[in-house]
Amino acid sequence: MATGEQPPGQTLGDRLYDFAFKNRVWKSIFRSGYPNTPRNQMLAVATNVFLHLHPTRIHRTHVKITHTFCLGGLSFFLFLGLTITGVLLMFYYVPSIERAYGDILRLETDVRFGQLLRNLHRWMAHGMVLTVLMHMMRVFYTGAYKPPREFNWVVGVVLLVLTLLLSFTGYLLPWDQLALWAITVGTNMVGSAPILGEPNRFVLVGGFQVGQAALIRFYTLHVIALPLIAAIFMAVHFWRIRRDGGLARPL
C-alpha cells in the first residue's frame, strides 16, 4: 500500500481499510489518514500530541540504536511506568506509621498481583537511577552537551537530582528497618552541613528523628511534589531538544 490512498470498493482488503480508517469516528480522532504515505506519516507525528515530542524527520545517524542506546527514552519510559504502578500502589497504602508496614505486607499477601506490582515499582525505580546515570554518560561521551545544548545539560543535571530524590523519598514508605535506617543515615548527612544543616534536616524530617512527620512529608514529596516538578523539567528538557535543533550532530 505504499502508493497511497486506494480508490474505494476494489478488493475486500481495500473495503476493510476504508471501513477502518475512513469513517467519521476514526477521522475525528486522527486528522491525518493512515500513515502509509510519507505525507501522512509526517502528519501522524505532527498532529499527535504525544508523538509531536518528536520532529517529523530525524537524521539517519540518530536512528541507530548505538547512538543513544535509547537511554533518555528509557528513563522517560520508566518514569511513566513508575507513575502507573505508583498510582496503583497508592490504592493500598496509607502513610501512617501504624499502618504503612502492614499495608505493604497485605499488598504482598492479600492483593492479587500485589507483590508483582511492588516488585515492578521497586525495580523500575532502581532502573531509572541507572538509566539516567548512563544517559548522562552517553550525552557526555557523544559531546552532546556542547553549544547550543549547554542549558539542556543543566536541565539534565536537575533531572538527575530529582530522580535521586524521588527514589530516596520512596525508600522510606515501606516503613521497615531498611527504610527507617537508610533515611536516618541519609538525612543525618543533610544535618551535617555547616550552619543551616541541622535546621534543614529538622524541616525535612519534621522532628528530631524519623517518625510520623517524616513519613507524611516523604510521602507527599514522593507522590505529588517531586513527580510534578520532574514532569515540568522533562517537558523543558524535551522542548529544548527540539529547540536546539534535535540531537547533536558533528558540524
Binding site: 505504499a2 506519516q41 509526517m42 507525528v45 508523538l51 520532529p55 517529523t56 530525524i58 537524521h59 539517519r60 545517524t61 536512528v63 547512538h67 535509547c70 519510559f77 520508566l78 511506568g81 508496614y101 505493604i104 504482598e108 511492588r118 516488585n119 515492578l120 521497586r122 525495580w123 523500575m124 532502581h126 557526555f140 561521551y141 557523544t142 559531546g143 552537551y145 556542547k146 553549544p147 545544548r149 549547554e150 545539560w153 543543566v154 543535571v157 535521586l164 527514589s167 530516596f168 525508600y171 516503613w175 521497615d176 528497618q177 531498611l178 527504610a179 527507617l180 535506617w181 537508610a182 543515615v185 541519609g186 543525618n188 548527612m189 551535617s192 552541613a193 555547616p194 544543616g197 558533528p250
Partner: protein, 304 residues
C-alpha cells in the same frame, strides 16, 4: 526499514546545503517510532521477568530502638556514606556532593568548543583519556581507601609476622611481636596523624570563642568554638587538598605527556575519573562495608 522510499522530493526554495541534510534524514514515523516501540516492549519484558523472579526486600517493621549494624543509605548514596568515613561529615555529606553537582552542571560552560560533538568519542585522544582517567580514578581511590583502612599496616604485619596476624580481617594481634614501627605510627591511617603525633595543647585546643571572637563584648552570645588544628588538618585540609589536588595533578601530568591537549581531552579525562571514583566508592560502600563499617566483604540484606 524502507529507507529509499522515504526520500522526499525537496522544493526548489531549499538551499543546496540543506538539501544534502534532508537526504540524510528519515521520517520519525515509522523508523524512530518503531525502534522506540521495540525498545519499550523489550524493556517491559525484561522488567516483568525481573519482577516475577526477584521480590523487593521487606525487612522487619521499622523500630527506632534497634539500630542495624551496619546501617546503610540507599545504594546511590553509599558513595557519600563511604566518603563520610574519611573526612568531616559536612564535607562528605553536603559540600562534596554540592560542589560535584555544580561542577557537573558547569561542564558545558568550561568546554565550549565544538570538537567531538554528536559522535561517540570521536576526537583523536578520546579513548586514551577515557581509559587513563577511569583507571587512575578507580585505582587511586582504592589505594586511598586501603590506606585509611590501615591495609598497608596489616599487609606489613602479615608478611613480617606470619601466623600472628590476618590480612583480610582485623585479627587479634599478638601483642609481643614487633608490628608496624612505633615511629611511623602516624602513617597507619589518616586519623593517626591526629592521634599518634604529639600535637602541643596550644594547637589542639585554640579557644577561638573564648579568646579571639569575643562576641560577648558586643553583647551577643559567646560562640563556644574551640579549634583543634590536628583535627582540622585530618578531617578537612588533607581531604580537600586530596580531592582537588589529585585531579589537577592528573590533568597536569596528562598535559605534559601529551595525552590531554584540548579542553575536550581534559574533560574526558576528568569526567571518566569522576565516574570511576563514583563507581568504586559505591561498590566499596555497598559490598565491602560490614559491621561497624569495617572494610570487609559484605552480603547485602544479610542482617535483620
Amino acid at each position: 526499514m524502507a529507507v529509499s522510499e522515504q526520500a522526499q522530493p525537496v522544493s526548489g526554495a531549499v538551499k543546496g546545503r540543506q538539501r544534502r541534510a534532508r537526504e540524510e534524514e528519515l521520517l520519525v514515523w515509522p523508523d524512530l517510532v518503531f525502534i522506540e516501540f521495540i525498545a519499550a516492549v523489550l524493556f517491559t519484558i525484561t522488567l516483568a521477568i525481573l519482577a516475577v523472579m526477584v521480590d523487593a526486600v521487606l525487612l522487619d517493621r521499622a523500630n527506632p530502638a534497634v539500630t542495624p549494624n551496619p546501617s546503610k543509605a540507599p545504594w546511590y548514596f553509599l558513595n557519600l556514606q563511604e566518603l563520610l568515613l574519611h573526612m568531616h561529615p559536612a564535607l562528605a555529606g553536603v559540600i562534596v556532593p554540592t560542589v560535584a553537582l555544580i561542577a557537573l552542571g558547569a561542564i558545558p560552560y568550561f568546554d565550549t568548543s565544538n570538537e567531538g560533538q554528536g559522535e561517540w568519542l570521536s576526537t583523536p585522544r578520546a579513548w586514551p583519556n577515557l581509559i587513563v582517567g577511569s583507571i587512575v580514578g578507580f585505582v587511586g581511590t582504592m589505594l586511598l581507601i586501603f590506606y585509611d583502612a590501615s591495609s598497608h599496616v596489616r599487609l606489613y604485619e602479615w608478611i613480617a609476622n606470619p601466623g600472628t596476624s590476618k590480612f583480610l580481617s582485623n585479627g587479634d594481634l599478638n601483642p609481643s611481636f614487633n608490628g608496624w614501627p612505633e615511629s611511623l605510627a602516624f602513617l597507619k591511617s589518616l586519623r593517626s596523624i591526629e592521634t599518634e603525633l604529639n600535637w602541643p595543647d596550644a594547637l589542639t585546643s585554640i579557644p577561638v570563642g573564648e579568646k579571639i571572637l569575643r562576641t560577648d563584648l558586643l553583647g551577643l552570645p559567646a560562640i563556644p568554638l574551640e579549634i583543634n588544628v590536628a583535627k582540622v588538618i585530618v578531617e578537612q585540609i588533607i581531604p580537600v587538598s586530596t580531592m582537588i589536588g589529585l585531579p589537577i595533578l592528573l590533568s597536569i601530568v596528562a598535559w605534559k605527556v601529551g595525552l590531554a591537549q584540548t579542553k575536550r581531552d581534559h574533560m574526558i579525562l576528568q569526567f571518566s575519573g569522576f565516574i570511576a571514583v563514583f563507581v568504586i566508592l559505591t561498590i566499596v560502600g555497598t559490598f565491602f562495608r560490614g559491621e561497624g563499617l569495617e572494610l570487609v566483604p559484605y552480603t547485602i540484606y544479610s542482617h535483620g
